[in-house]
């Protein structure tokens, strides 16, 4: 089969599968979060943590619960790494250094999974499973809970109540993430991924050399890594490793898992607000941006101008032979547009424009479709901003889904859009200005700059993928990127929940012919325009000095 046709068929299969699944799955998630019933295992959990799942929380209480839960998560993960030599299944690995342990703890609790360590040569099985993998589940569930709280803000009227965080958290894990992860893990094992508790296998090669092949509970962690848009691989090579991602089919499954919750949540949103068309409008905006990214990266990888690349038919450096440009580009676009950060190829080796697109994908704020939960709330915030500007143009004070976007609401939305640019640009500027940053760089020129920019973009937007190319495991990078990840994750949540609280207390405005129709294609298009122009303008100078300078060089 011709390569282009194969790529197109793969894309069609992926989009088809998502189209097929997002409806029932989205409705299922809506039902999960709206249900009044508790499963027996959930009741047990509530009793353990001492939570009353029926108690309604206003936004400060909801936020306190989110933060308290996350702080405990960071401390627990930090302690686990620092004392891993004293824990079972440590495989004999030494404790992690304090700065790296902080970085890793922040990274996994913030749903980022930036890894300044190599999994197979630093983390024991228990740390991976009971520490990292658990956070892969719960940090994803936290994101979804916050998104659902915002949706409730739109749905509810004349109340400040946003639901119960503990119930949302537990349901997200028990009823959504665990069942899907379990089934997908079985599928992945069937496709050839490994799942065991063994340490290193010593094998002898034909030439007589000795190799150490690590094993471990790979498939189970692989699945939640994608499904929860986490991205932290069991192995350092991440999804490029054949034990994590053995073949083309498993690759497609992993991309599907990356995208399925973020895209389906738009349906959940539509169902919960009582107008599935509102969900489709958000879905369309997300889909257009995602598809744009896929096309730009794919085209750029195929059309690489170098001689070697021309002979190979595309830029194959840093890509796996079993995936090729098409599957690698599709994966790269999906992982950077969703805050996943798993990689099946080396983004650093992508062409300047392809690599630049992965960078821009993250800069857009991980909203198309974005991380689980965080994508939906991020896009809804952008929708609020777009509605505010466009709503004025129809001659009314702006309103979205029947809720007025007034001073309070715009204050929260404006603060939200301020955070990640501040962290990305501030962090990069700090690294470029201080000797600590520049010393760690191994590349020079525009590409070297892109690598540092990528690191902070990835951290602050909770993506977690790396351009690599510089030694990230230094106290400077571990600390600054660690802070970027925590602030980039939890500060926006403060404003999202505050906005949700403010919306929930309003009296809804009825829809009339004078109302801006937010379920129309025109609005989706405007949303795409707002997202690309606002973030594009913010990062254009930085991009010009990185990928653009590299790609346009003569």
């Amino acid at each position: 089969m011709n390569q282009t046709l194969a790529d197109v068929l793969q894309l069609v299969a992926l989009v088809g599968a998502l189209a097929l699944v997002h409806r029932p799955f989205g409705d299922y998630m809506a039902a999960v979060y709206s249900s009044g019933r508790h499963l027996r295992v959930e009741r047990l959990l509530y009793r353990c943590i001492g939570a009353d799942p029926g108690a309604q929380m206003r936004w400060p209480a909801y936020l306190r619960s989110v933060l308290a839960f996350s702080v405990v998560g960071v401390l627990f993960l930090y302690a686990m790494q620092r004392f891993q030599d004293k824990l079972p299944l440590s495989l004999g690995f030494a404790p992690i250094d304090p700065d790296q342990a902080f970085n890793t703890a922040a990274s996994f609790v913030a749903n980022t999974n930036w890894q300044s360590y190599a999994g197979e040569s630093a983390m024991g099985h228990l740390t991976q499973m009971a520490g990292l993998a658990v956070q892969n589940f719960v940090s994803a569930a936290v994101g979804m809970a916050v998104a659902i709280a915002l949706v409730r803000g739109f749905v509810r009227a004349r109340t400040g109540e946003l639901g119960n965080f503990w119930a949302d958290l537990v349901r997200g894990v028990v009823r959504i993430l665990l069942p899907v992860a379990f089934l997908s893990a079985l599928a992945l094992v069937a496709m050839g991924a490994v799942q065991n508790f063994s340490g290193m296998h010593e094998v002898h090669t034909l030439s007589g050399a000795t190799q150490h092949i690590p094993g471990g509970p790979v498939a189970s962690q692989e699945v939640i890594k994608e499904l929860g848009t986490n991205g932290g691989g069991f192995f350092n090579a991440n999804s490029a490793h054949p034990f994590e991602n053995p073949n083309g089919l498993s690759n497609l499954l992993e991309i599907f898992l990356i995208l399925v919750i973020p895209f389906s949540l738009t349906r959940t949103f539509g169902t919960m607000v009582g107008s599935v068309r509102q969900g489709y409008a958000i879905l369309a905006a997300m889909g257009i941006i995602w598809l744009g990214s896929v096309l730009v990266i794919t085209a750029s990888e195929y059309a690489h101008p170098g001689t070697a690349a021309q002979l190979a038919g595309g830029a194959m450096e840093g890509k796996e032979q079993r995936f090729g440009e098409g599957s690698s580009s599709l994966f790269a676009a999906s992982t950077t547009m969703t805050s996943t950060g798993a990689v099946n190829s080396f983004h650093d080796s992508f062409t300047a424009f392809g690599g630049g697109m992965t960078l821009l994908g993250m800069m857009l704020g991980e909203i198309a479709p974005g991380g689980v939960g965080s994508g939906l709330y991020g896009m809804l915030i952008m929708a609020v901003v777009a509605v505010f500007i466009a709503g004025l143009m129809v001659g009314r004070t702006p309103e979205y889904l029947g809720k007025k976007i007034g001073t309070r609401e715009i204050k929260f939305a404006a603060s939200y859009i301020l955070i990640t640019p501040a962290l990305v640009l501030g962090g990069t500027a700090l690294a470029m200005a201080l000797p600590d940053g520049k010393e760690a760089m191994t590349n020079i020129g525009a590409h070297g700059f892109t690598e540092v920019l990528y690191a902070y973009t990835s951290g602050a937007n909770n993506n977690g993928s790396a351009f690599a190319g510089f030694g990230a495991d230094t106290p400077f990078f571990n600390t600054t990127i660690g802070l970027c990840m925590l602030l980039g994750r939890f500060l926006p949540m403060v404003f999202v929940l505050a906005l949700a609280g403010s919306l929930a207390s309003q009296t809804p405005v009825p829809t009339t012919a004078g109302t801006l129709r937010t379920e129309k294609p025109l609005f989706s298009g405007m949303l795409v325009g707002s997202v690309t122009i606002i973030t594009g303008l913010t990062f254009f100078p930085a991009l010009a000095l990185g990928p653009l300078a590299e790609g346009l060089s003569r």
């Binding site: 143009m393 004070t397 029947g402 100078p541």
Partner: protein, 725 residues
């Protein structure tokens, strides 16, 4: 509810308004009716406002607009740098243009404010310190200065006196010249009791004597409020303006970050930038266009209302008006002409229509009410019956209409009657016209019989929403009813179309009337309103407003009577008529000096236009940035990375010219858009979807494309300057 019709009648048909033009408070003239137009913009205003604009450079004033404050800081920084390097023409030019950018913004605001100044001056003249004749407790008068009056004081005003303060007439009736505030020279009647008792300080009593109870403290009178309003002194930022300011401030911070962090990046790339260039980049990126024009847009919006003789007591109300989704409109005076008009003669029995018409005309000659006159007019129009005057018929005994008898008519002697209805000698011809009950009783008293047919017709007309007037006659054939005059409400011209427009805008119209449900329904259907409230009491109105509001709808209404006050206060937008009581004016958040209830529709359009203008210019401003990047980024970095020159798609002649062109374009676009900000974006009633599509195309796409052309043009001009480019 009553409306101000009789007074309006007088003011329109009375003294011609010719000599009044010199008293006219609006320097721009008014545009009655029609969709929203704008104020005129005279370029000379720019020059005149220059001193005011310079005064606004004070940083303490500038800080209220965060965007322009940043530009001012940039101007100071670049100026200091230029002074440090006096030989650098580029630095000086950038500094100069940054100052011009700030100045243009201030100019826009000053021009907008200046338009109210002239009006305020006229008002001040009316506010000359008057001397009040205060009534003391023992009934004697004492002369006190107008400023010394207190609420509750009674003052006497006679012909020629200026009324010293706002108040209610408690005794007497007088004609008052209110041209100082309304611009309308025809005098109006003010009388104690009822809904026309309010007088405004600064207006002049033309005849008679009234006693006024002062209701407002000096300094807080209507005219004081009006002065501060038109001058913009009391202007507070409206909620939406504050929200927009927050968003703009946030964007400014984002761009500030982008520019500040650029220097380390540039240093790494080996292309260190001068502070001047960074300041230029920052000013080009932050939303200066909307930042500069935001307050001018708000002031101009208020001004457009003032030009239409509407005073809003808060900018909040002007904004809320754009969101109104329910309009409560009084039937009388708003939807229909103030009075019912005769529309048809319906004879009964053997009478012919012509006979009925003649009898009706005869009986109405002595009826000076508008209804009565309309009967005469219809008889003339339809049957060519010449209008006769009371003196024409010798010996006629006229019976004028009174509220007690509820009928009018004439008794004619048998001889010399011009009427064709010959009665036998000694028997006089009597004609009566009036309310069905009254005339039927009269016929009965005279020994006549009222037929069932008449009752049927009376019933039918009532059901159709009309008012039946029965015409009775007594001649040789005895007393009988000739037929019925059908009085109908006449819908004002063009109302149907306006309601259709409102519906397209998503606004529901509700007609309020004291009529019975049947009548109300008929008129509602004819006028094309969406809903009606029949037999409305003030309580009903309140209930209706509250129920609309609980549904999240914003309600606007007009009113003038004291019993309207609670509803006016409850409504989100309450427009009180200037002829109304002080209670109504206090309760509403707008006052219409023309007392034209139909204007509510125009007010809604002005409110919408205000918001649209803001949104359009914000979109335009943000879209502009794309082109500026394509001008400035290659100019800054093409030295370090020659490949970046590919981004110079405008092919600007040199890096310095590119940066300068962007800065100059950025400043000039503010001036270019001042007329638009003052006039407001053209508004036509259409659905939100169509409006959005249109405005996005004009201001979004236009904002994307325009600067590419503009910057290129400026660049071409710059290259013409010798020694540059």
């Amino acid at each position: 509810m009553s409306t101000a019709t009789p007074v309006r009648e007088e003011s329109h048909d009375g003294i011609p308004s010719g000599p009044s033009s010199q008293h006219h408070p609006s320097p721009h003239g008014r545009r009655p009716g029609g969709t929203v137009g704008g104020g005129l913009f005279d370029p000379r205003q720019l020059v005149r406002s220059l001193p005011q604009a310079l005064r606004k450079l004070d940083p303490r004033v500038m800080i209220t607009s965060p965007v322009m404050f940043v530009v001012e800081v940039g101007s100071v920084v670049t100026t200091v740098l230029a002074v440090a390097h006096p030989g650098d023409w580029f630095g000086w030019t950038i500094a100069a243009w940054l100052w011009l950018t700030v100045l243009f913004a201030n100019l826009a605001e000053a021009v907008a404010e200046g338009r109210g100044k002239a009006q305020a001056d006229t008002l001040r003249k009316a506010k000359t310190d008057s001397v009040a004749r205060r009534l003391t407790d023992d009934g004697t008068e004492e002369r006190v200065p107008g400023t010394g009056l207190r609420v509750g004081d009674l003052v006497v005003c006679e012909a020629g006196d200026l009324i010293p303060g706002d108040g209610d007439v408690v005794e007497g009736v007088a004609s008052v010249d209110e041209s100082a505030i309304t611009g309308e020279s025809a005098p109006v009647i003010r009388e104690s009791g009822g809904d026309r008792c309010a007088v405004t300080g600064g207006t002049k009593v033309l005849s008679d004597r009234i006693v006024v109870r002062i209701t407002t403290k000096p300094g807080e009178t209507f005219i004081d409020r009006m002065i501060s309003l038109v001058e913009g002194a009391a202007r507070q930022k409206t909620p939406n303006e504050i929200a927009l300011n927050i968003l703009l401030a946030s964007l400014t911070v984002v761009f500030l970050l982008a520019v500040v962090t650029l220097q380390p990046f540039a240093l790494y790339a080996g292309a260190e930038q001068s502070l001047t260039v960074l300041a230029a980049l920052l000013v080009c990126l932050i939303p200066t266009t909307i930042g500069a024009l935001l307050s001018a847009i708000g002031i101009a919006g208020m001004d457009r209302l003032v030009q239409r003789n509407v005073l809003a007591t808060s900018g909040r109300a002007v904004e809320a008006v754009g969101d109104v989704s329910t309009l409560l409109l009084d039937k009388t005076g708003t939807i229909t002409l103030g009075d019912r008009r005769a529309a048809a003669f319906v004879p009964v029995g053997n009478a012919t229509e012509a006979e009925l018409a003649e009898a009706a005309q005869l009986s109405s000659l002595a009826d000076e009410t508008p209804e009565g006159r309309s009967v005469v007019v219809l008889a003339k129009e339809r049957y060519g019956l010449r209008e006769r005057h009371e003196g024409e018929l010798a010996g006629a005994d006229w019976v004028p209409f009174t509220a007690q008898t509820r009928m009018s008519g004439v008794d004619l002697p048998a001889t010399g009657a011009a009427s064709g209805a010959d009665g036998p000698d000694g028997v006089r011809l009597r004609v009566r016209k009036g309310a069905a009950g009254a005339v039927c009783a009269w016929v009965g008293e005279r020994g006549g019989q009222v037929t069932d047919e008449l009752h049927t017709q009376v019933e039918r007309i009532s059901q159709e929403g009309g008012t039946p007037l029965v015409v009775g006659i007594e001649d040789a054939d005895g007393a009988r009813a000739l037929g019925v005059i059908h009085l109908k409400d006449v819908i004002k011209d063009g109302m149907r179309e306006r309601f259709a427009e409102l519906r397209r805008m998503g606004i529901k119209t509700v007609m309020i009337t004291g009529d019975n449900p049947l009548t109300a329904k008929a008129i509602a259907e004819e006028a094309g309103v969406d809903d009606y409230l029949a037999e409305a009491t003030p309580e009903d109105k309140m209930t209706l407003i509250r129920s609309e509001q609980t549904g999240g709808r914003l309600v606007a209404m007009t009113g003038d009577g004291t019993n309207d006050a609670p509803a006016l206060a409850q409504a989100d937008v309450g427009v009180a008529m200037n002829t109304g009581t002080s209670a109504a004016k206090e309760a509403g958040n707008m006052v219409d000096l023309d007392s034209d209830p139909t204007k509510l529709i125009e007010i809604v359009e002005i409110g919408k236009q205000l918001l649209i203008t803001r949104g359009a210019l914000t979109t335009f401003s943000i879209a502009n940035d794309v082109a500026k990047y394509f001008a400035i980024i290659p100019a800054m970095f093409a030295v370090a990375y020659p490949g970046l020159d590919t981004l110079n798609i405008m092919r600007l002649s040199s890096p310095q010219s590119a940066i300068l062109s962007a800065v100059i374009f950025n400043a000039l676009i503010i001036v270019a858009l001042v007329p638009l900000a003052l006039r407001g974006v053209r508004y036509r009633p259409m659905s939100a979807d169509r409006m959005l599509r249109r405005n996005l195309a004009v201001y979004g796409v236009g904002g994307l494309v325009a600067p590419f052309v503009g910057i290129k043009l400026v660049d071409l001009l710059i290259t013409l300057i010798p020694g540059v480019g």
